[in-house]
């Protein structure tokens, strides 16, 4: 548990350092995820301990978004003023993105499976 958490933090730290050093617009944790993925691919998989810790952490992924979500209270005025465009844009674009992504993937994937 302790070792696995240290490892995750080390990869995040490496990601943050790379993002700062190369002035990348990509956040450190995402780079850290890429680095850990590459390491796992080279080493042939995670240790049982790492897998277990990741599972525990990801089980409550939703919880981690709550503090930022409560920040909605800072913007209640703007959201009240512009509620119609915000609500319509959010709902329509999110649903459109889900529909387009899944349709394109399904069509291309089915075509590839047929060819194989």
């Amino acid at each position: 548990m302790l070792k696995a958490i240290t490892l995750l933090l080390l990869f995040q730290l490496a990601g943050e350092a790379i993002a700062l050093f190369f002035a990348l617009p990509i956040p450190g944790p995402v780079i850290g995820m890429g680095l850990l993925f590459a390491t796992l691919a080279l080493r042939g998989g995670p240790s049982p301990e790492l897998r277990h810790t990741a599972q525990n952490l990801l089980q409550h992924l939703s919880l981690l978004f709550v503090p930022a979500g409560v920040g909605v209270m800072l913007h209640i005025q703007r959201i009240a003023d512009e509620w119609l465009p915000i609500v319509v844009a959010l709902i329509a674009s999110t649903f459109a993105a889900i529909i387009v992504t899944s349709l394109v993937l399904r069509v291309l994937h089915v075509r590839e499976e047929k060819r194989a």
Binding site: F11, P25, I26, L58, S62, V88, A89, L90, A96, L103
Partner: protein, 246 residues
């Protein structure tokens, strides 16, 4: 009976400024929300993030507690987003073989979904009269919070508004996806997860893990890839789009 004690008011004043309260309240509100969610048979509308955020906002508003005071405690939870993002590499690795086989279709679907998310949001917002600052804050709303905030800041939006729009997008995707998939008769968990990750980042991914390990892994991949793609594409596209919309 409080021989050396303080009044309730004094205790409240002390506790409400200590990080302990914000942290404890966040955990309590979330667990309460999960309990309600389970009571509703995991109904997507009873989304745990949505319920927890609503109850915390009402509580802070009722007690007149500023967000900054709350966040002093809640930041310890917020901090774990970093290591949790890194940890997504592990379920991702478990799907490595399938990912490799589907690489081509995944990338095309990613590009289509990513552009759809940003462009429809900006165009609809403009059509209905949103201000420029709101439009720029809307554009990166389908990608994970830290990337979206960085993009909004660079392009002249409001990063903290973007954070809120990102969370709302995530909740919408988590709530709406299953319903859309039923309408579209889409049953492949890999496709389901991937589209949720493109459209609604980490909250969609959290929901996708409830569908199963495979949906979760594809969602995590989509979230990471869409973060990268949007961070590169949007700074090139959005200024031109805003110019054209003027």
């Amino acid at each position: 009976m409080t021989p050396h004690g303080q009044s309730f008011g004094e205790i409240w004043v002390y506790l409400s400024t200590s990080p302990l309260l914000g942290l404890t309240l966040t955990l309590l509100a979330y667990q309460g929300a999960v309990w309600i969610n389970q009571r509703c048979g995991g109904h997507p509308l009873a989304n745990p993030v949505l319920l927890a955020v609503i109850s915390l906002v009402l509580l802070l508003w009722a007690t007149g507690t500023p967000y900054g005071t709350y966040f002093d405690g809640a930041q310890f939870v917020h901090f774990l987003l970093g290591p949790a993002t890194v940890a997504l590499a592990i379920p991702l690795y478990a799907q490595f073989d399938r990912l490799k086989r589907m690489a081509g279709p995944l990338l095309v679907a990613l590009l289509a979904g990513s552009l759809t998310a940003a462009l429809t949001a900006v165009l609809l917002g403009k059509l209905l009269g949103a201000s420029d600052a709101t439009l720029i804050s809307l554009a990166p709303k389908s990608v994970t919070t830290p990337i979206a905030m960085g993009i909004a800041e660079r392009l002249g939006g409001l990063p903290s508004l973007t954070a809120v729009l990102v969370i709302l997008t995530g909740i919408l995707g988590a709530v709406g996806a299953q319903w859309l998939y039923a309408l579209m008769k889409c049953r492949d968990p890999a496709v389901q997860g991937f589209a949720m990750g493109v459209a609604s980042h980490g909250i969609g991914t959290a929901r996708a893990f409830q569908i199963g390990e495979q949906a979760g892994a594809f969602s995590a991949l989509a979230m990471g890839l869409n973060g990268l793609l949007t961070a590169v594409l949007l700074p090139m596209l959005l200024p031109r789009l805003m110019e054209w919309l003027r």
